[in-house]
């Protein structure tokens, strides 16, 4: 059995009196893709934001064997955790190249000399970003923005990449491309925690899956088994395909 990269035990997040996520336990093994699927409002984004430290939470989050309880967002980034949020949070008024470069900010602070090489790698992965490297991030199309957000995240050389709805609002062809990119990332040694509305696609590229309903884990299992589970098919996969 592979090494546990992320272990979450009994995680709860509240917005005021409303408990958006409660008692969630999950784990991600090194080198795997884990997907979390579930309906709108199930608490999927909340879960990722809490793991990143953007939202306060209770319960324990262990990453690379270390407890993250008192660790600020920036320090989590420095430890190899990286979130691409649903809102992307790009620097719209800055160029594509600057956005990517800033993705490597923590590596620059460490004195990492290989940043230029990573930039070339990202450009190789997303040739469209290279074409537009001088353009402002705010002027990009939705798909290009998603590529830029992914590229910026990769520039930090994360150990665990958390992606919140990478296919949201994109045309089906681009979704396919982005998901292809994601499954290719695994070969570079990045582990991925993926949240998707597009449950079929998510289960296709992931190894293990969790179904989140009303803020709690309703089902979990190997992705192939989940994809064959009648309840999952009925609620999330629909007929056909």
């Amino acid at each position: 059995m592979a090494e546990r990269l992320l272990t979450v035990r009994d995680l709860s997040v509240r917005y005021g009196k409303v408990e958006a996520v409660y008692g969630v336990s999950l784990s991600v093994e090194r080198g795997s893709i884990v997907s979390v699927i579930g309906p709108n409002g199930a608490g999927k984004s909340t879960l990722l934001n809490a793991l990143m430290g953007v939202l306060p939470s209770r319960g324990s989050v262990e990453f690379c064997g270390q407890d993250l309880a008192k660790i600020e967002v920036e320090q989590r980034v420095a430890r190899g955790l990286c979130l691409v949020p649903e809102t992307r949070q790009l620097f719209a008024q800055m160029s594509v190249a600057d956005n990517l470069e800033l993705g490597a900010f923590i590596r620059y602070r460490r004195g990492d000399k290989a940043i230029r090489q990573s930039l070339e790698n990202v450009y190789q992965l997303f040739p469209r970003l290279k074409e537009r490297h001088g353009q402002l991030a705010g002027s990009l199309s939705g798909g290009e923005r998603q590529m830029l957000a992914l590229g910026r995240a990769l520039m930090s050389q994360p150990t665990l990449l958390m992606l919140d709805e990478p296919s949201l609002g994109l045309a089906p062809l681009i979704v396919k491309e982005i998901l292809k990119n994601i499954s290719e990332l695994r070969s570079t040694g990045v582990s991925i925690l993926l949240i998707e509305q597009n449950a079929r696609a998510a289960l296709q590229i992931s190894d293990y899956g969790y179904v989140l309903e009303n803020g709690a884990v309703a089902m979990e299992g190997a992705s192939r088994e989940l994809a064959g589970n009648p309840r999952v098919i009925e609620s999330y996969l629909g007929f056909g395909g």
Binding site: V54, V73, A78, L90, F91, L102, F105
Partner: protein, 345 residues
């Protein structure tokens, strides 16, 4: 009013402009990165002049004590924080990080002040004393309020302003000072006589602006500061800590303020409370730029500088009134023409 007077006034106006542009840039920078309307920026101008004047007289400037005092307060706050978090193990390292540099600077000044070093060295010593005050002000007054609304930050800024002005009176007394000019040269260009000092002001200001443009456009830390100003959450997600950015912004602002002080010291008599008005005029320039656009702010600073020098000729008692009245049409135009965004969208 003939051509020679117009030229003299224009020259004066441009000299003022050079200073106001720098201050406007500092104010925009601090506001962008930390959302603080940085009222005390002017105090760094007057502290710069007053500190340099003390060094000229071979006296240890009072700002050295302020530096030590602020460092002590910061160290105390850090100790309390670490104690409440139960992380006393980190205390010695944290204290060393806060206290060592100010102590070393104080020691250096203690030995160098009576030596009456050449002007260039004294300017350097002045920067050494005043610039670290910026990050310390941030650490003591603003960092604990990092998530407070803009209004609370503004109130804190006003409090810091009053505190620093009062301490200025305590340390330097009520007399005004002038510092020696960098150059006593005079050049005549037809009807116009240009003083060496104003050339120094123009040149330094241009170099500083060029340096800042390079810093923000080309260096990783400069880009990181812009990133924080554009999108705080996004910046955190790539690992840029807001408090690191705030410290850096305050250090830059203090450098700009102190530099401006050193430049205007030979031109105007500066009192412990002169910084406020100077800073406020830089602020008018920054307002023209909507506290966001550097080029527009430079234009605003030019407007302020020229308006000030010409109105001091026509209506000298009202020159400040005229300059500050300019804010009203600018605000009207801004509020009518700009789209209103929610804060922290």
């Amino acid at each position: 009013m003939d051509l020679s007077i117009i030229l003299i006034l224009a020259q004066d106006g441009l000299t003022n402009t050079a200073i106001y542009v720098l201050l406007a840039v500092a104010l925009i920078l601090v506001f962008g990165v930390t959302r603080i309307i940085y009222i005390p920026q002017g105090e760094f101008v007057s502290y710069g002049v007053l500190t340099l004047a003390s060094l000229q007289q071979g006296v240890v400037p009072g700002t050295v004590w302020l530096l030590l005092l602020m460092a002590a307060v910061a160290a105390l706050m850090e100790s309390v924080r670490l104690f409440s978090e139960g992380a006393l193990r980190d205390l010695p390292a944290a204290l060393a990080r806060i206290l060592l540099l100010p102590a070393a600077i104080a020691l250096l000044i203690h030995f160098c002040a009576p030596l009456r070093l050449p002007l260039g060295w004294q300017v350097l010593l002045t920067m050494l004393i005043v610039v670290p005050l910026g990050p310390l002000v941030y650490r003591v007054a603003f960092r604990p309020l990092a998530d407070a609304p803009v209004l609370v930050l503004l109130i804190a800024a006003v409090a810091v302003h009053f505190g620093l002005v009062g301490l200025g009176l305590l340390f330097f007394g009520a007399e005004g000072v002038r510092t020696p000019a960098f150059s006593s040269a005079q050049f005549s260009l037809g009807a116009l006589t240009v003083s060496g000092q104003s050339l120094w002001v123009y040149a330094t200001s241009l170099v500083a602006i060029g340096g800042l443009a390079w810093f923000f456009g080309r260096t990783m830390y400069g880009k990181a500061l812009r990133a924080v100003a554009f999108n705080r959450n996004g910046a955190r997600l790539v690992g840029i800590s807001p408090s690191m950015a705030g410290t850096l912004a305050f250090a830059l602002a203090a450098t700009i303020g102190c530099l401006s002080g050193v430049l205007i010291g030979p031109i105007t008599t500066v009192y412990y409370d002169s910084g406020f008005l100077i800073g406020l005029k830089g602020f008018v320039g920054a307002i023209v730029g909507g506290l966001a656009s550097f080029p527009l702010a430079a234009l605003g600073a030019l407007l302020v500088g020229l308006l000030e020098s010409f109105s001091s000729f026509w209506l000298s008692e009202y020159k400040d009134v005229i300059v500050f009245t300019m804010v009203i049409p600018v605000l009207l135009w801004r509020s009518l023409s700009s789209v209103h965004y929610e804060e922290e969208q």
